[in-house]
Structure formats: structure tokens, C-alpha cells
Amino acid sequence: MEYQKIAQNKLEEIFSHFGKPSGKEKILFVLFGLVCIGALYALYTQIVEGHIVTGMRDNVVWGIYIVNFIFFIGISYAGAMISGILHLLHVEWRKPIIRIAEMITVISTMIGPVYILLCVGRLDRLQNIPLHGRIQSPITWDVMAITTYLSGSILFLYLALVRDYALMRDNEGMKIPNWRRNIYRKLAASYYGLPEQKKLLDRALTIMSAIIIPLAVIVHSVLAWIFGMTIRPGWHSTIFAPYFVIAAVYSGTAVLIIAMWIFRKYYHLEEYLQEKHFKYLGIILLVLAGIYGYFTFSEYLTVWYGSESWELEVVYKLFDMNSYGPWFYFAAVGGVLFPMILAGVPFIRNINTITIASVIAVAGMWIKRYLIVVPTLETPLLPIQDTRPEYVNYSITWVEWFLTFGGVAVFFLFFMIFIRFMPIIPVADIVEVNDHEDFITEKL
């Protein structure tokens, strides 16, 4: 009796934050919609006119599409690592934030692979991958890993949602249209909180949170190996896989903090997303920034010290203030140090500074990925001797920009839609289950 009442009240309270869209929200919705239309037009242009409309050419064969791909798969780590690890460790304070984290995972894992498709010259021949697939190719690994990862993260998100779906199904206070209630009924899988059901669901969640961690590690390692397996300066490095994994968790945590800040600020979920959550995540961010900085230092120190001319050429392009220097120092130094200071020094640390630290980290990680992809491709072993400037240096075209912002817009749009259909704060998790019998009898 008690439980059902408290839980339903909580549920209604949470959904009250996501009632009729406010004016601001409507404007944002239109804005993101317009960006998406622009991206669709860019996509149409690329399909009709071919890859010539992008900045990609014979040397820089992959541009910001692959940067975005790494970026989105990177931020998907929010759910996998934060939610998975904290679940396994039974960390109590994780409960209000896991839904946001897992949604970031699912949405970004759906958006990310679109970018790798944009790099493919003949989308009409994708069936060749299952037909003639060679498992020696890291691309094949990537296809398999990402499909598995996406399935896994959807499953993980769903498992955590089952109890909330049950609450939605049983809710009487809110006006939920019948069709939606039917969907909730299907998704709730006849879950009534029976001890046996609870045991099985717990087992499923534990297995899933254990499995999603190595899965996420493998996905990003495979991604790193696409670069690491080629004999190219700046790519052919043994630490590339862990380096990518750490960068991914780092950016994933940062995006999670930003998302939490937005929900707290604009949807007034202060009651659930408290300062302590920001501080705990801020500490995780601090640690990750440290590890990331350590990897970066180790990578470039080794390469620079080794002084191989081919490697040095790329490294000097990154260090040169007239070349990629400003970006490199911002991403590799600033992107590590600023977040560490903002999230680490106790008397500066607060919700806003931690969020600023996260914004810097996210920007830094995007730029860092650009610096991993482009300068290396601009430095082939045999020097580029081409008279066409677009073949010597990569420059991002409007098509690529539109599609990049399109991805970001889709990310936000997905969130804006999803939060109206599922509780963004896991109600069943935060309301302790005391009396199962009550739960059942109340229903009947």
C-alpha cells in the first residue's frame, strides 16, 4: 500500500516537470528540427553528388565524420561505464543518474554509426559486409562490436526501465492515453514485484552491468585498432586501445554531467540531481582527466623522444603554433588541466564549475580526436606532391558541418522526446521496496 502510493506520487511528480512544452522548449524544438532538415539536405547533396562535396580527398580519406563517430561512441560510455560499474559496486547515489546515463548510451550508439556510413563510398553495397566479410579486417570487428554493443545497451536501458514501466502501467493519477498504456503494459512484462520476479530481474541487471563493461571496452578498442593497425605515424601505437577507452569514459562522464546540469537547471530536478552527484562525478572526472593526461604525456613523450623522422613530422605539426599547435595545446593540455582544477580544487568546486569543466573536456576530446585523425592522414609516408590545395590539406565543407550539427540536434531531440515517455529519474530505484504484498494487493 505504502510503496505503490509513494512510488506513484514520485512518478507523477517527475512527469509534472515534463508537462506541456514551454515556449523556450518549443523554440529549441523548432531550432533542432531546422538543423535536422539542414542535415538532411546535406545528406541529400552528398548522396546525389558523391563524396566530392566533402572535404575528404585521397590523403585525408576520413574527415570529421570519423571524428564524430569516435566522439559519439565515446560519450556512450556514460551509461556503460558509470552505470555498469556503479551498479556492480552497489553505489547508492548512482540511482537518480543511471537513467540519464543509459539514455546517453543508447542515443549516441545509434547516432555514432551513421557517421561511419557517411564515410562509405558505396552505401548500396553494404550487403557485401555480411556476404563477403573478412574477419581479419578491423572494420568487420567494428561492425560486429557495435551491433552487439547497441543491442546490449538497449537491453540494459530496458532492464532498468521494467519496474518503471510497471508503475506507469498501474498509474491512475496521470492522463495516459490508452495506446501508451498498452505499450507500457507490454514493456512491463507482467512485472508485479513478486519476490521471484525481483530476484530474476536483479540477476538480469547484474549480468548486464557486468557484461556491458567489457563490451564497451572492446568497442572502443576496436575503434582504436582501426587506426592502430595501420602503419602510420601517430596511429601505430600499442597504447591506442586503452588511450581511446580512457578518452571515451572521460568524455562520457563529462557529457553526463552536462546533461544532469541541463535537467537540473531547466527541468528543476534539484531534488534528485543534487550537488553531491555533481561532486562525486566531478571526482570521477578528475581521476579520468588524470589518467587521460598521463596517457597523452606517455604517448607524445615516447614518440618525440624516439625521434623517428616520420613520427616527428606529425608531432611537430601538432606542436607548431602555426599549424595545429593552438588546438593541440587546448585539447591535450587545457582539456586535461582546466577540468582537473575546476573539478578538483575544493573551494572552486561547485555545480557550475564542474559543468564548465565538463564542457571543456567534451570540446577538448572532440578536438583531440580531430588531431588524431587529420594530421596523420595529412602526413603520408611518401610526401604529398599535389598541386591541388584541397588534396594537400583537409578543410571541412558545409556538408560535413551540417551533418555534424545534425547529429547533435538529433541527440537533443531524442532526449526531448524520450523524457516525455519514460521517467528520467528511475522511480522504482529511488523508492525503496518495502512490502511486496502491498504492492500486489493495491493493484488488484
Binding site: R122, R134, L377, L381, L382
Partner: protein, 313 residues
């Protein structure tokens, strides 16, 4: 090693025109199958100037269909190799033109490139013609997700551009920048495609030097070899141990031994099928290659020179 009067003649500095005319005539006597029958059947093709020309189908008949077993296996018992004599190259670029015209490639879209190389600041620069190296452990083949590019038993690395999905991973993996992407709709004639002729090219797929198996199936030397006024390119079957540039022929094993041949960037472990003879006792000074060079091309090479100074690479 066998030297004959033609070599001496060349060494004395034959003009390009005479060299080409003689080479054309000589080859007809030199090849084994010089009396290959024309089939009489014609196919209509667009030539590089956009004119419709009729070509004997024998020109294409010898090629195996894409996806067939033969095309992936190659000529049994062969291992094709190329020896490039850097001491003879003066960047005449006839090889580039010949290759582009026979594969209907637009200007700048080069499968065979001539680089200006300089190993260090104090050493001399030299011209470095570079086809695909057809490596024995090819990085590009390893990474292809669909087996569109493959290594054959006769040493060739070919591309099936009817299977290629255009992911460009092979281009990223090739350490020699041998691969060129068809960013735009290629202006190839509407011919019967085979990975052995590489014509026509397809938009959104990768192309590269194919060592011209359509030519050697007829016992002919590729156009780059024939077009070279200085006999820079030697081509042959390593298993037969003879390479030829259409005028001279050498025992492959003796040539690479006696002239200290090297393979470019041996340390990468790619085991190329292209051997270079070092640029010693050169026929022409490197500056000769800049003569009659269009301003924009010269600029590209100047960039390279500045680069050598800056990075000493």
C-alpha cells in the same frame, strides 16, 4: 648481365621520340606472342578525347570476370616484379601520361606518380617513379572488410571495384599512398569490366595501378614500360628470372644483386614486388626533370624541397 648496342645508344642520350618509336617497333619482334590474332570482333569505346572509337575485343577478351576464381588466383606459376632504374629517370612523365590515357584517368588522378625524393639534406635529390608496389604482405589487403582487394598467387594486388564498398580503409592502410579514390563520376568508357583491366572505374570505389594483367596475358608489356623514353621500367616474371624494358633484358637475380637494388621502406615488412636500382651514375641531372614543367607542377615539387629543409625527412 647482358649489354647490347641499344643500351649504349640509349646511354648516349637518345631523344625521347626516337626512343619511343624504336621501342614500339622492337617490342613487336621481341615478344613471344607478337603474332597474336585479332579476334575481329569490335567493341565501341570512348577514348580520352571523348571520341567513339572501335577497339578489337581481343583487347579485353583475355581478362577474367570479376568474382571469378581465375581473377583471384592469377596466372599460375608466375610472380610479376618490376625493377625501376632510378639512374635513368628524368621525370619525363611519359609513363604517367600513358597510364592515365590507357586507364581513362583524368589529369592529376594518377595511379603512377613521380615523386621528387631527397633522403637527407646533404644528399642529392632524385626522381622516383612509383606504381603500386604489389606487396607480398599487403597492408591494404589485410584491412579490406569485404575482400574487394586481394593478393593473387602471381603476386598481383588487384581491386574488384564491383565489390568495393568504398570504406577507404585500404587507402589509410597503404603506407605508399598508392591508392586513389574515385571521388567523382569517372569518365571511363562503357567497357566490360574486369579487375584485370581496371576499366571502367566506378564512382565511390578505390582504384590503383594494377600492373596491367590484361597486357601480360597477351605477352605485352604495360604502357608505362613502353612509353618511357629512357627504359626506366623493367618488368618480368621473377620465377622466369628475366626482366625487360622492351629493349634490354636482364636476369632479374643478377640485376638486383649487381646493382644493389632495394625495395622502398623494406623495414615496413610489406615486401614489395617493385625493386629500385639506386640513382647512381645518372643519365640526367635532377634539374632536367624541371624543364618544360608547368608552373603549378613545379610548385608542388618546390613545396617538397622546402619540406625537406624543414623536417629533414
Amino acid at each position: 648481365m647482358k649489354k647490347n648496342s641499344r643500351r649504349d645508344f640509349l646511354v648516349k642520350g637518345a631523344t625521347a621520340a626516337v626512343g619511343t618509336v624504336l621501342a614500339g617497333g622492337l617490342l613487336s619482334m621481341c615478344t613471344k606472342k607478337d603474332d597474336l590474332e585479332a579476334t575481329g570482333e569490335k567493341v565501341k569505346l570512348l577514348d580520352t578525347n571523348g571520341n567513339l572509337v572501335e577497339v578489337d575485343k581481343g583487347h579485353m577478351l583475355c581478362c577474367s570476370a570479376p568474382g571469378s576464381k581465375e581473377v583471384r588466383k592469377g596466372m599460375p606459376g608466375r610472380h610479376f616484379v618490376m625493377v625501376i632504374d632510378l639512374s635513368r629517370c628524368r621525370n619525363a612523365r611519359r609513363c604517367v601520361d600513358a597510364c592515365n590515357s590507357m586507364h581513362y584517368l583524368p589529369p592529376h588522378h594518377e595511379w603512377l606518380k613521380v615523386f621528387l625524393m631527397q633522403d637527407s639534406e646533404d644528399t642529392s635529390s632524385y626522381w622516383f617513379p612509383k606504381p603500386c608496389f604489389h606487396c607480398d604482405t599487403p597492408a591494404c589487403v589485410n584491412v579490406c572488410p569485404v575482400g574487394a582487394t586481394f593478393k593473387r598467387e602471381d603476386g598481383l594486388v588487384l581491386i574488384d571495384n564491383e565489390r568495393c564498398i568504398g570504406c577507404k580503409f585500404c587507402m589509410a592502410a597503404c603506407p605508399y599512398s598508392s591508392r586513389v579514390f574515385n571521388w567523382d563520376e569517372p569518365k571511363s568508357p562503357n567497357a566490360v569490366y574486369s579487375p584485370e583491366s581496371s576499366v571502367p572505374q566506378r564512382v565511390g570505389t578505390v582504384g590503383k595501378c594494377d600492373f596491367c594483367p590484361d597486357f601480360f596475358k597477351r605477352g605485352e608489356l604495360p604502357d608505362c614500360v613502353m612509353a618511357c623514353p629512357n627504359g626506366v621500367f623493367f618488368y618480368g616474371d621473377k620465377n622466369e628470372d628475366v626482366v625487360t624494358n622492351g629493349i634490354e633484358s636482364f636476369r632479374f637475380s643478377e640485376l638486383v644483386k649487381n646493382k644493389s637494388a632495394f625495395r622502398y621502406m623494406e623495414e615496413l615488412g610489406t615486401r614489395p614486388s617493385v625493386y629500385y636500382l639506386p640513382p647512381v651514375d645518372r643519365l640526367y641531372p635532377v634539374e632536367k626533370g624541371f624543364e618544360d614543367m608547368p608552373e603549378e607542377t613545379r610548385k608542388a615539387y618546390e613545396v617538397r624541397r622546402a619540406h625537406i629543409k624543414k623536417f629533414n625527412v
